[in-house]
Symmetry: C2
């Protein structure tokens, strides 16, 4: 199939089929009224030449690019991947392509990319990032629809698709209560981090609904295993008894789990542990595997893409769209139903 030469144009096809350019266009797009025989002849010619319509030319007359831009405000990372996969998935079905732009936490880069995307006349833009904290809109009065995914905009009119992190935290607490835990500790990320604050507040609130309090004041630190391990040291040294730890992330939860086991506490028999993110590498690598809250990032990405498509087609859905989280139960909170034989 060597077609190393210049790609065939519709003129080539028309010439080969012995029709005019306009007729060739109609034949290939099912427009106009043509004899079936003519249509087939043109299609055969196109096939033979390996004709692929020049997207730029098509864009010029239709005004549509069938392209959307995806800007990650911070670096492309672990959270962006499932989002991108979801977006790709939903848009690919609609035969749209995705421009990837990595903002790297730099507002100047971000604006540069925004201009590039506008210059390329994308049909829409998806903005995403690692921090769930509402961010200033990427622009105002833009000529194309914008949907925020995972992140949200400070303008409540902007369309965004976000995870119900508070709801996820409540589900985690409910689960711990359901398996009989009453003295629950909380270890999470930095105190200035939006997700840490939201999840922590929701957990406290949910406990309060059952007339309970955290077994110790929440411990804010970093999103790392090392912090999880250190935090366990602090809990053991200063806090009273506790029979569960709700953690702000899977990394923290894994650190907590490892440190508990090292300190001679059994998980989940003595202390149950719940993580957040349901990051396979962490939850499955941990011993035992971690119960965790899944934000369904891929679904978020798909949802954002669907809303963007709708907006492109003139049916915008302004405002925040909150998606529920899902609790995935594993052995860090429940003893396996079928206990492994003692050997």
């Amino acid at each position: 199939m060597g077609k190393s030469a210049r790609p065939a144009t519709i003129s080539d096809v028309a010439a080969l089929a012995g029709v005019s350019v306009g007729t060739a266009s109609k034949a290939l797009n099912g427009r106009g009224s043509l004899r079936a025989e003519t249509r087939q002849r043109v299609q055969a010619a196109a096939e033979q030449l390996g004709f692929q319509a020049n997207a730029a030319a098509r864009t010029l007359s239709s005004g549509r690019t069938y392209t959307v831009g995806m800007i990650t405000t911070d670096t492309i990372g672990r959270f962006s991947i499932p989002l991108m996969i979801g977006v790709e998935d939903a848009l690919g079905a609609g035969r749209m392509s995705v421009f990837l732009c990595d903002g790297r936490d730099d507002p100047i880069r971000e604006q540069y990319y925004l201009n590039t995307l506008l210059s390329r006349r994308v049909d829409g833009i998806i903005v995403t990032g690692r921090h769930a904290r509402p961010r200033p809109p990427i622009g105002s009065g833009l000529p194309v629809p914008v949907v925020y995914a995972f992140v949200s905009s400070t303008d409540p009119e902007d369309c965004s698709v976000v995870a119900d992190e508070a709801g996820g935290a409540r589900k985690a607490i409910d689960h711990l209560l359901a398996v009989g835990r009453r003295r629950i500790a909380h270890v999470t990320g930095p105190e200035h981090h939006h997700s840490a604050v939201v999840r922590s507040a929701a957990a406290i609130e949910q406990l309060a609904e059952s007339g309970l309090e955290l077994a110790a004041p929440p411990l804010f630190g970093e999103w790392s295993e090392a912090w999880g391990r250190r935090a366990v040291g602090m809990l053991l040294a200063t806090a009273g008894e506790f029979d569960a730890v709700f953690c702000g992330s899977d990394q923290v939860a894994r650190g907590v789990t490892d440190a508990l086991r090292a300190a001679g506490r059994r998980v989940p028999e003595d202390v149950a542990v719940v993580g957040f993110d349901n990051w396979d590498v962490m939850v499955l690598g941990s011993q035992p595997p971690l119960t965790s809250v899944d934000m369904n990032l891929e679904g978020l990405g798909r949802g954002a893409a669907d809303l963007l498509l709708a907006a492109i087609n003139g049916e915008p859905s302004p405002g925040p769209h909150v998606r529920p989280c899902r609790l995935v139960v594993r052995e860090s909170t429940t003893v396996p139903v079928e206990p492994s034989p003692v050997d």
Copy 2:
């Protein structure tokens, strides 16, 4: 800056500046001979209207799209990210944009994306993926240059940028020998996995150069922590003494490390452990942090993008381009220089 209306065209700019369209184009691109005053007037008008040249129109006359496609043959994942960042980085500087295509291990999807990219007349294509095993070319006689990154093509004429995994494995072995280890075991991924085979063979070969052999036959399994843990059980049960384990990935290495510690072997005092990939989450989360081989994926991505740009500019560099790996030494192979105070 509300510009919610239809984006300004060069006709709008020309009208506002009181010149013809052609003149406006020349003024904005520094072509032709115009009075300085005219040039400024046009630029001011463009500024005022927020004019951004329509990329599709520009493409149509120039033939260049300033766009490249990036196809991941398998799902976008951990390995693709640093590659993408590197590619983005190198191309962004040249004001080029990247189309992201997720092949999902499906040849049909892959061909679909290839056609899409060709239809969009990208200036070039970068092919990447998770498996380093040489793969069939994505197409032959394509009208645009293609560079394979991390993966390589079975056609030796195709341009590819790959990591010297064998060299990386040799560096790992050299390091273990340098810190005085002589009885080295090897635990790695599936036997049919290209990287596992290459790394393993190189390790054995490098040991042979010092007149040594592996302390036990290499253990092939999965790329998981759980396998690393199980493998340690096998080593302890069947193998003789060993004072180091070279692992095919960081996940395996972490499993190995955890299991060794659980079995009462100190790392690195009794057994040194080396991983592969230098995946921060694993190497830093592990206790102790893991020495690991870094393939410099971001550099690979940058290199691939640079080669692609060169090829687009008519200076192709066919054939494989092998990039060295780097060994990052951490506490899993060396006792810290400054021992932490006993407390």
